[in-house]
C-alpha cells in the first residue's frame, strides 16, 4: 500500500496544537462474503489510505460522488465504524485504540448530523426526549435542568420551544433537521461531522439551515467536517475542501483556490458538471465518459485513469501519491492541470 507520510505533515502548515482531528492512513475495507459459511471472496475498498488534518475552528468540506467513501470516512473519524488500518488522532490520542469508557467520554466532544431528517429521529420519542437524550446519558442533570437546556437549545436553533412535547412527524423537513442539530450540539461538542446535512432539503429551507450552521460555528467555536455533494453549498461554507474519488483523496486545497483553478482533472470535471443557475455564462464542460468503477475492484495505477480525458501511459501503471503542488495545494495526479 502507498504510504503518504509527507502529505499529512505539510498539510498542516500550522503548528500541531492547531490541529483538532488528524486521520493517518485511514483505510476501511468491507468484506464481500459468499455462500453458506460467509467465505470472504473480496473486499470493497471504501476508504483506502486517506491522510487528512482538520484544524481547530475550520470547516473542512469533503466532496465526491456517491460510493466514493466520504460518508464511511466521516464515520471512521468518529469511530462509529472501526478502521481496517490507520489512526484517528483527536487531541493527540488515537481514538481507535482507547477503551470503551474513554471513548464514551470522548463522544461528548464529537457529534454527527445525518442527512435524512426523517430516518434519523426516533418517531416514538417526543422532541424534548430526542434533544434531551444525550444530556440524560452524559450529564448528571435533573429533569428540570434538562428541560431548561432543551428549551435553550431549541431557541438556539430557531425552533419554537413550546412545541417540545410533540413528535417528530409534526415537524417539516427543515425543522426536523434543526432538531438533529440541536441534539448534536446539546453537549457542547468541539467537532461535528455533518454528513449531507442539507442535501435532502429544498433550496429555500436549505439556505436557512446553512445560515444556522454557520451561526453556530461562530458562536460555539465548532469544527466541522462538512460532507456533501452540492458543490455550491460546500464552496459557501468551507474554508478548505477535499475531493474524494474511489476511496482516495485526490485533491485538497483552500476553497477559493480549488474553485478558481482545480489541479486534479476529476475536480475540474466535477466542477464543470454542475449546472449553474444562470443563462448567460456557458462554460466549457468536461463530460466524463462511463461510470465510477466498482470500489471492490479499483483500476490499477491512478484510479481515475479509466475516465480521465488527459490519461497518459504512466497513469495506467503508477498510482500518483497525494503531493504538494503549490503552497497549501495537494493533488494526487501525475499531470496536474494549470
Amino acid at each position: 500500500m502507498m504510504k503518504e507520510p509527507a502529505a499529512i505533515a505539510d498539510q498542516r502548515l500550522v503548528s500541531p496544537d492547531e490541529i483538532l482531528v488528524e486521520a493517518k492512513n485511514i483505510t476501511k475495507y468491507f468484506p464481500i462474503t459468499k455462500g453458506l459459511f460467509n467465505r470472504t471472496v473480496g473486499q470493497v475498498k471504501a476508504v483506502d489510505g486517506v491522510n487528512l488534518a482538520i484544524r481547530k475552528g475550520e470547516t473542512f468540506g469533503l466532496v465526491g460522488e456517491s460510493g466514493c467513501g466520504k460518508s464511511t470516512f466521516g464515520r471512521v473519524l468518529l469511530r462509529l465504524q472501526s478502521a481496517t488500518d490507520g489512526q484517528v488522532l483527536y487531541g493527540g490520542r488515537n481514538i481507535h485504540a482507547i477503551s470503551q469508557q474513554e471513548l464514551r467520554k470522548l463522544r461528548e466532544e464529537m457529534q454527527i448530523i445525518f442527512q435524512d431528517p426523517f430516518g434519523s429521529l426516533n418517531p416514538r420519542f417526543l422532541v424534548k426526549d430526542i434533544i434531551g437524550e444525550p444530556l440524560r446519558i452524559h450529564r448528571n442533570m435533573s429533569g428540570k435542568e434538562i428541560d431548561a437546556r432543551v428549551v435553550e437549545l431549541m431557541e438556539l436553533v430557531g425552533l419554537d420551544a413550546s412545541r417540545r412535547n410533540r413528535y417528530p412527524h409534526e415537524f417539516s423537513g427543515g425543522q426536523r433537521q434543526r432538531i438533529g442539530i440541536a441534539r448534536a450540539i446539546a453537549l457542547n461538542p468541539q467537532f461535528i461531522v455533518a454528513d449531507e446535512a442539507v442535501s435532502a432539503l429544498d433550496v429555500s429551507v436549505q439556505s436557512q439551515v446553512i445560515n444556522l450552521l454557520m451561526k453556530l460555528q461562530r458562536e460555539l467555536g465548532l469544527t466541522f467536517l462538512f460532507i456533501a455533494h452540492g458543490l455550491n453549498v460546500v464552496r459557501h461554507i468551507s474554508d478548505r475542501v477535499g475531493v474524494m474519488y474511489l476511496g482516495k483523496l485526490v485533491e485538497v486545497a483552500e476553497t477559493e483556490a480549488l474553485f478558481a483553478a482545480p489541479l486534479h482533472p476529476y475536480s475540474a470535471a466535477l466542477l464543470s458538471a454542475i449546472p449553474k443557475p444562470s443563462v448567460r455564462r456557458k462554460q466549457e464542460r468536461i463530460v466524463l465518459q462511463g461510470d465510477v468503477p466498482s470500489p471492490a475492484n479499483p483500476p490499477a495505477g491512478c484510479r481515475f485513469h479509466t475516465r480521465c480525458p488527459f490519461v497518459q501511459d504512466k497513469c495506467r501503471r503508477e498510482e500518483p501519491p497525494l503531493e504538494q503542488k503549490a503552497p497549501g495545494r495537494w493533488a494526487a495526479c501525475h499531470y496536474p492541470l494549470g
Binding site: 460522488e65 456517491s66 429551507v205 439556505s207 453549498v233 459557501h236 449546472p275 444562470s278 463530460v287
Partner: protein, 338 residues
C-alpha cells in the same frame, strides 16, 4: 398564431381526502411548442409531479382526479378522453421518464424485452423485429455493446445506464412530447451531465418537445427554453429562461434564486432566506398564497388572489407588485427556441 403542441388551460387537479378536496394544482396554464423544452420548477409539494400525472391522465390511478380545465394535445382535449383512448397515446405520442430509474424498470425482464414491449404494443411489431429495434435504441442512447446489454437485467446495470434504458423505452415510439419528472435527481453530477447532454442531442435529432420537471434551477437554466415556476399548486411566474434568470419578477422566484449559494463572488456570508415554509395544500392562506413569506406583502395580498400580470412580451407573474401592467390573456403565442 401557430398551434402549440400542448396547451394546458386552467387545469385544476386534486385529491379527495378526509379533510375535503385538496387542490394540488390550481388553475395552471402552460403551453409547449413543437421542439421546445419547458421546465416546471418548484420545491417539493408545489404540484409539479401532479401536473405531469394529470397530462398523462395517470392521476386517476394515483387516487386523484382532474377537477377543471383542459389539456389540449394537438387541439384534442385529453381530459375528455376515455382511459382506453389514453392507453394508445401514452407511451406512443406522449412518453414519460420518472425520477428513480431503478424502480421504474421491471427487475424480472431483460432491458431489451422492456424496450421491445412498447414497440410490440403500439406498433404491432413482431418480437424479433422489436428486439432488433430495441438494440438500435440502446445504441441511440449511448449504451456500449447494446447486443449484450439488451440481454441483461436492470440490476446488472448502473444507475446512469438504467436511466438511459428508461429513456430508450420512452423514445421507442418516437413520441412528440416527452415528460421527464426529475430525470437526473437520483444520479451523480457527472452522470447527470451525461444524461442532460443525451436528452438535448436526442431532442435535436428527433424534434420532440420536452416538459422537464425539476427542483434544480441549474438544470432548468441549462435545458429550458421557457420556465414556469410553481409554488403551492400555482404557477407564480412564467417566461423564457432569459426572462426568469435575468429579470426574475415574482418575489418567490427572486428569493429562490437568491438563496442558492453561488459558484463565484462572495462566500461565507449570510445567505438570503425565504422565511417560513411552504404551506401544506389544503391549508393555503387567503389572498396570494405566498404572502405570509413575502417580504413585499401588502394589504391587497392578504385579501385578494393576484391574477397573472404580463410583465413584457411573454413573461407573466402573479403578483400585485405588477398591478400597473396588463392582465395576461391566458395563452402564449407559440414561442421559439432560445
Amino acid at each position: 398564431m401557430a398551434e402549440n403542441l400542448l396547451e394546458i388551460r386552467k387545469l385544476t387537479a386534486g385529491f379527495a381526502t378526509e379533510h375535503g378536496l385538496v387542490k394540488a394544482t390550481d388553475e395552471i396554464s402552460i403551453s409547449i411548442g413543437k421542439g421546445q423544452t419547458v421546465c416546471l420548477v418548484g420545491e417539493s409539494g408545489s404540484g409539479k409531479s401532479v401536473t405531469s400525472l394529470a397530462i398523462m391522465r395517470l392521476i386517476e390511478y394515483a387516487g386523484g382526479m382532474i377537477l377543471d380545465g383542459g389539456i389540449h394535445f394537438h387541439g384534442e382535449d385529453l381530459t375528455a378522453k376515455k382511459q382506453e383512448e389514453m392507453r394508445s397515446i401514452r407511451g406512443d405520442r406522449i412518453a414519460m421518464i420518472f425520477q428513480d430509474p431503478m424502480s421504474s424498470l421491471n427487475p424480472v425482464f431483460t432491458v431489451g424485452e422492456q424496450i421491445a414491449e412498447s414497440l410490440r404494443l403500439h406498433q404491432e411489431k413482431s418480437p424479433g423485429e422489436a428486439m432488433k429495434q430495441a438494440i438500435e435504441l440502446l445504441r441511440l442512447v449511448g449504451i456500449p455493446a447494446p447486443e449484450i446489454r439488451a440481454k441483461q437485467y436492470p440490476h446488472e446495470l448502473s444507475g446512469g445506464m438504467c436511466q438511459r434504458v428508461v429513456i430508450a423505452i420512452a423514445l421507442a415510439c418516437r413520441p412528440e412530447l416527452l415528460i421527464a419528472d426529475e430525470p437526473t435527481t437520483a444520479l451523480d453530477v457527472t452522470v447527470q451531465a451525461q444524461i442532460l447532454d443525451l436528452l438535448r442531442n436526442l431532442q435535436e435529432e428527433l424534434g420532440m418537445s420536452i416538459l422537464l420537471i425539476t427542483h434544480d434551477m441549474g438544470v432548468a437554466a441549462e435545458m429550458a427554453d421557457r420556465i414556469a415556476v410553481m409554488y403551492a399548486g400555482a404557477i407564480v411566474e412564467e417566461g423564457s429562461a432569459i426572462d426568469i434568470f435575468d429579470q426574475p419578477s415574482h418575489p418567490y422566484t427572486v428569493g429562490l434564486l437568491q438563496s442558492i449559494p453561488g459558484f463565484e463572488g462572495e462566500r461565507g456570508g449570510e445567505l438570503y432566506t425565504i422565511r417560513g415554509t411552504i404551506p401544506p395544500l389544503g391549508q393555503l392562506p387567503s389572498g396570494c398564497r405566498f404572502h405570509p413569506r413575502c417580504p413585499h406583502a401588502m394589504d391587497i395580498c392578504r385579501s385578494q388572489e393576484p391574477p397573472d400580470f404580463l410583465i413584457s412580451g411573454q413573461h407573466r407573474a402573479a403578483c400585485w407588485l405588477f398591478e400597473d401592467k396588463p392582465v395576461w390573456s391566458g395563452t402564449n403565442e407559440r414561442g421559439g427556441k432560445r
